[in-house]
Amino acid sequence: MLRTINILLVIAMLVGAGVVYDLKYEAERATSKVAKITRKIEAERDAIATLKAEWSLLNQPRRLQDLAERYHSYLELDPLDPTQIGTIDDIPFKPAVSAGDDRPTPPKGSIKLAQPEKAGEKNAGIGKLLDRLPGHHGDGPTTTGSVPKAAAASGAPMMLVPKIVVPKPAGDSAKVNR
């Protein structure tokens, strides 16, 4: 009887020791894993900070202005003139019968949706947008130019805009309809 108990106790002790050893080992492994991940997060965070700094360095108005001036012949980006700014209200309604335009009529309210927000309603909004818009280089009625550009600017990346505006000979109406 006593012997059985003793044997059982010895076995229990051995098992206990094994389990504890395993737990300890597991814990150590987890700790080093945590430390490793923490280090990785730290490194990533630093990398993000560096990239952010680089981004703002590349995005400095000074630099952008220099680039716009240097590649003016290609980009044709000019400073915005106050006369080029218009609101949705400046656009005349589309005539009921559109001659020569075989495209299906857009659903109601699409123009309103295309306009990111009513100009002047929010202080920073329109300013920010207009700031990024490419200069309008046509000499036609200026308010017409702002709408499709604003729409394009709200969705597509800004850099794409100048490339779309390449066909120069096209008149103002073509620009509006694009």
Partner: protein
């Protein structure tokens, strides 16, 4: 078992011997037992110690990077663009005591950083007996990896935080600089250290890397750029020695842009120490000249003793003993109050001030902080210089901005109070909402006076009115403003050809939102233009700034607008 043996012995041997043996062996047993117990306790303690100890090495590595360097919060502009940030950079250090062969170490390092081969200072450092020396601050990632692979004993890297200003000199005077330990020593950098208690934490030996929320400023990166760009242009075109530009939100007192040229790049903090690069916008005091007629008209009209329809004799100079006040654009007749304003008549302004009295002038100047330092976040603020004693002559000269020196920021802030409905707001470099501004605003003028002043401002700017500011007009934005052409004091005398020109403008004049102040120090006339008055250089600069910033700030141009309603009387 031993008990059994002892019992057996008791039966085999005589009593006395058994008792002796028993006492002897009991002593030994107790001794051995104690010995074993001690060993077990020691083992147990060690086990407990090991169990509680953490993984030292990894933990040290993980926290090491945050312990070495001191971190600062990022500074952002009002739209979240980065103005100042921390970047981690690795610096190369050596522990000369641990270096086995100096020549070999230098040879190996030179494969990565070639200039080290012939650098005597490196050799000297490595051969010294010092425990720790810096070899090169800020090495690139690639260099770092290569040196790491060389595996030179006694050479290591430490990560440091370095303050980086992506805009360079763009907003140097506002942001300020940090020292080599990344502590703010000027500008907003200094302010946030004190305000957030960072300085105290550091003094206590703590430097937290995490949990530093980025701080948003009221500056607008784009506006700041435009101001600086146009000032730079103007400085070149008019060969000015210095230029100052300030853009304020008149409704909240927020500073959207502030530039003082020549300036410095905070990435090279030593440039900030050069005297010519000082911050003239808040830390320099000047006799602002005729822009003061704005404030003169404001307080005299506010007193009710001067009306817009009044006329004052400006046909002859005003004489005070040995001193004489005369007009630059003399008309030789009596002028109405609006005429005095747009022709910038010194005589008329002086007469207006004298009519209401020195005491009232002093009270008003007190209210708009012309007699004390501005309360703002920037540590570099200068106190105005003004005559301590009231006298007729000082009242007369202060009416047109001589005999009193204030900072350009004082002028801008007072100008904002004149056009925003008469509420004085201390300038701030941090965002302030309209409601918050309402709480801290102090009424200094009646709203009606502000209306009249806006009329005068706009009148002075309207092309065709003969006003001195017509060159600042931007169609669509209803700009209004006042010129100032002050002669500079040189050796106690006013110099005829050294000027201090300024233009104080706000737009749109029917509901002023933003104020722009441009000051040019010693501008020279352009080639084919004979004069160098403020209307010819400061005003066009203001116009150019407004043309560019108004769309950014969301001010809609209006073309069909009639002239602002003239105040009754």
């Amino acid at each position: 078992m031993s008990d059994v043996a002892e019992h057996a012995e008791e039966h085999q041997h005589p009593e006395a011997r058994a008792a002796r043996d028993l006492s002897a062996s009991r002593g030994r047993i107790v001794f051995a037992g104690l010995g074993f117990a001690a060993v077990y306790v020691a083992v147990g303690l060690k086990l407990a110690g090991l169990g509680m100890a953490s993984d030292d090495h990894s933990a040290a590595l993980a926290s090491g990077s945050s312990q070495v360097s001191t971190a600062r919060p990022d500074l952002l502009d009002r739209n979240g663009e980065v103005l100042a940030t921390d970047i981690k950079s690795a610096s190369l250090y050596a522990e000369p005591k641990r270096i086995i062969d100096v020549d070999e170490a230098i040879e190996a390092l030179a494969t990565v950083i070639p200039e080290m081969r012939h650098d005597e200072s490196v050799r000297k450092k490595l051969s010294s007996k010092a425990g720790f020396v810096w070899l090169k601050r800020e090495v690139t990632k690639q260099q770092r990896q290569k040196i790491f692979r060389l595996g030179i004993p006694g050479i290591g890297f430490m990560e440091e935080n370095r303050r980086f200003y992506p805009g360079g000199a763009l907003a140097g005077h506002v942001l300020g600089t940090v020292n080599v330990d990344n502590q703010g020593i000027s500008g907003i950098e200094k302010y946030i250290d004190h305000e957030s208690g960072l300085a105290d934490l550091r003094a206590a030996g703590l430097s937290t890397a995490k949990g530093l929320e980025p701080r948003r400023l009221s500056l607008d990166l784009r506006v700041q750029h435009v101001v600086r760009d146009e000032l730079k242009d103007a400085m070149q075109r008019y060969h000015a020695v210095a230029a100052i530009g300030i853009v304020l939100d008149v409704r909240t007192g927020e500073v959207l842009g502030m530039s003082s040229l020549p300036d410095f790049d905070p990435n090279h903090a030593e440039q900030a120490l050069e005297k010519q690069n000082m911050n003239r916008a808040t830390a320099g005091v000047f006799e602002m000249g005729s822009v003061f007629k704005t404030f003169n008209s404001a307080w005299t009209l506010d007193s009710g003793r001067v009306q817009l329809t009044d006329s004052y004799d400006a046909s002859s100079s005003l004489v005070f003993g040995s001193q004489k006040i005369s007009d630059f654009h003399a008309k030789g007749r009596s002028l109405t109050v609006p005429e005095i304003f747009i022709y910038s008549s010194n005589i008329g302004s002086a007469r207006m001030a004298l009519k209401v009295g020195s005491e009232a002038q002093r009270v008003f100047f007190d209210k708009i902080a012309f007699h004390k330092k501005l309360e703002t976040e920037l540590p570099e603020v200068a106190a105005p210089l003004y005559p301590k004693r009231l006298s007729e002559i000082s009242t007369a000269t202060q009416a047109f901005g001589h005999g009193i020196s204030v900072t350009p920021m004082h002028t801008a802030v007072a100008g904002a109070a004149v056009v925003n409905g008469g509420r004085f707001l201390n300038p701030t470099f941090f965002p302030r909402s309209r409601d918050e501004a309402e709480k801290v605003a102090v009424r200094v003028l009646k709203p009606e006076t502000s209306d009249k002043m806006r009329y005068l401002f706009r009148l002075n700017n309207t092309p065709g009115s003969g006003g001195s500011g017509s060159k600042a007009d931007v169609p669509g934005y209803l700009v209004g403003g006042k010129t100032g052409t002050a002669e500079k004091l040189e050796g106690g005398r006013y110099s005829g050809n050294k000027r201090f020109n300024s233009y104080l403008a706000a737009f749109p004049m029917d509901d002023p939102q933003y104020l722009v102040l441009v000051v040019l120090d010693e501008p020279k006339p352009e080639k084919d233009v004979g004069a160098a008055t403020a209307g010819l250089n400061a005003a066009p600069t203001v116009g150019a700034i407004i043309r560019r910033i108004a769309p950014m700030l969301g001010v809609m141009p209006r073309y069909d607008q009639a002239k602002p309603a003239v105040a009754s009387n």
